[in-house]
């Protein structure tokens, strides 16, 4: 799904999609590293 589609589906700016994705990815990475799923 393109960022623009996510943005219009959620009614938020594309920049917010990017920043939330970045935030979610880094959080997930932390969690998965803690769980030993990702090196």
């Amino acid at each position: 799904m393109a960022y623009a589609e996510i943005a219009s589906a959620l009614g938020i700016p594309v920049g917010t999609v990017m920043s939330r994705l970045n935030f979610a990815r880094s959080r997930l990475r932390e969690l998965l590293i803690a769980a030993g799923e990702v090196g």
Partner: protein, 195 residues
């Protein structure tokens, strides 16, 4: 391209991975990657993350809200126990404590000077002959004022300036560092300002 002329912002890599970069920037990233180990590692980490989530390169047609939910349900038990983030007030507590402590120290300094001055005025003790200097050093040094012997009053003013400036600088820098490092919305704003 080397580290000194690193023209690829970190945020581009996630966009590149998601196929969201325009053609010009995409080519820039492609040209940059072979010579940049950190960027290749970052890209590999993005791929590893997608693999770990088992939603590698999501097929748009296949992705409904149900399959995203199913992916999350599969993933969630594998995540470690989530610790709730500290309430906002707790994150501010050290800075607030510092500020309140300093205010308390100043208050005690001023209050003790007022009491001493009043005691002198009412004749309970010998009135202070150097009340302005006492006031200033009381204000600046708080309850450390008693550490300064009376005969230091010649350079008391410079000492006063140094102490006041140092306190203000420490409080201000500490507050700045605290806000910058601890406040989560700063990280979000930095990410959003990229767009």
């Amino acid at each position: 391209m080397n580290a000194e002329s690193h023209e690829i912002p970190n945020e581009w890599l996630a966009l590149y991975y998601d196929g969201e970069l325009d053609a010009v920037r995409r080519e820039q990233v492609q040209a940059h990657l072979p010579g940049c180990e950190p960027c290749r590692q970052e890209l590999a980490a993005l791929e590893a993350l997608s693999r770990a989530l088992a939603v590698d390169r999501i097929d748009e047609a296949a992705l409904g809200s149900r399959s995203a939910l199913a992916a999350w349900r599969e993933l969630e038990p594998r995540l470690p126990e989530r610790t709730a983030p500290a309430p906002a007030i707790l994150r501010w507590l050290p800075g607030l404590g510092l500020l309140m402590g300093s205010v308390l120290v100043q208050f005690v300094g001023v209050a003790s000077w007022v009491v001493a001055l009043a005691a002198g005025q009412f004749g309970w003790v010998a009135p202070s002959t150097d009340w302005l200097n006492d006031a200033l050093s009381g204000w600046a040094l708080g309850w450390f004022a008693w550490l300064v012997p009376a005969q230091w009053s010649g350079w008391g003013l410079s000492l006063l300036l140094v102490v006041v400036s140092a306190w203000l600088a420490v409080l201000y820098l500490g507050w700045l560092a605290f806000v910058w490092l601890q406040h989560p919305s700063q990280a979000m704003q930095r990410a959003e300002s990229v767009n």
